[in-house]
């Protein structure tokens, strides 16, 4: 049996092939991005339509993320966003998923800057790490997440 002349080169190439295959084996990542502070339900409950003023609302919740002028009226938006991202690398084929859920609070004020209406949706706790084919809207999973956050009976968007 004869030994090829360029055996060291073949060995190096074989090792590089193995290393390449190892690198291309499945990998995954998880990432979470939060935007703004979570809305605190107990703070929201202190807002009283007909009584609370815009100044009191700002003292309680801080500055809004958006103010919209609606003629004489105005509306303040507060929000908190959670994004959970998942990815799988299968060599040249990659699978990715992002689930983004928001807490949103809109406060409507009259021309005298007195609170008239409050709209709340608390869903940021429902963001999940998942794969693209998973069902994220099952009511049992949402109820479980709501219970963990202390929102018995779900939020008012359901």
């Amino acid at each position: 049996m004869t030994r090829p002349k360029n055996a060291p080169a073949f060995r190096a190439l074989r090792m590089a092939s193995v290393a390449g295959l190892m690198l291309s084996l499945p990998g995954c990542f998880f990432a979470r991005v939060n935007r703004n502070d979570p809305l605190v339900p107990s703070a929201v409950e202190q807002l009283l339509p007909g009584t609370t003023t815009a100044q009191q609302a700002v003292e309680l919740l801080g500055g809004p993320t958006l103010v919209v002028q609606l003629g004489d009226r105005s509306a303040y938006r507060y929000d908190h966003t959670v994004t959970k991202a998942t990815g799988i690398f299968l060599g040249i084929f990659n699978v990715g998923h992002t689930d983004t859920r928001e807490d949103r609070l809109w406060l409507f004020f009259d021309a005298e800057d007195r609170l008239t209406h409050v709209g709340t949706s608390l869903q940021s706790h429902r963001a999940r790490y998942a794969l693209p084919w998973e069902d994220l809207h099952e009511s049992s999973k949402k109820e479980s997440a709501d219970r963990e956050r202390g929102l018995v009976g779900g939020t008012d968007e359901e």
Binding site: L13, R73, W106
Partner: protein, 152 residues
């Protein structure tokens, strides 16, 4: 020699440095429940009823003659993509990317009269539902952008 080239090309492909294929799914918030919409009767329901049934809107903006428009938007979209990159010179590379995903944002848009009584409820794609012209320096694209930015 041919074998070496083949292995090198195969390795480059496997390591994803030249060609990669992607399957992505983006979900933002939850769709509005049809049952909640049925409880809202135009001409009878008020802003308070809309907020009770649908929760806080995604975005609010002023419309003509003192009207108020609110949109509830969500997203659940899958897309395939392919990207190809190659080295052109020592410090220069090129990358071509193609995505099948054409961002379409489903939404419910409710319009309230100046007394904040419900006038219209519409369901469809946000880009088709945003009335023009808007007031207060708001452009239709601003509304879509505010939802698109949520994709993280």
């Amino acid at each position: 020699m041919r074998l070496q080239r083949g292995i090198a090309a195969g390795l480059a492909l496997l390591m994803g440095s030249c060609v990669s294929l992607r399957f992505d799914r983006d979900r933002v918030n939850e769709p509005v429940d049809d049952g909640s919409l049925q409880a809202l009767v135009p001409g009878q329901a008020h802003l308070a009823d809309v907020l009770d049934q649908l929760g806080a809107p995604t975005i609010v903006w002023p419309s003509l003659n003192g009207r108020v428009v609110m949109a509830y938007a969500w997203l659940d979209q899958c897309g395939l993509g392919i990207s190809v990159s190659t080295a052109l010179q020592r410090s220069l590379s090129a990358r071509v990317r193609w995505d099948s995903e054409d961002l379409e944002i489903p939404a419910i848009v409710v319009e309230l009269d100046p007394e904040l009584r419900l006038e219209v409820v519409r369901r469809g794609l946000l880009r088709d539902l945003v009335p023009e012209p808007l007031e207060g320096n708001v452009e239709p694209d601003d509304v879509s952008d505010s939802v698109r930015s949520l994709r993280g």
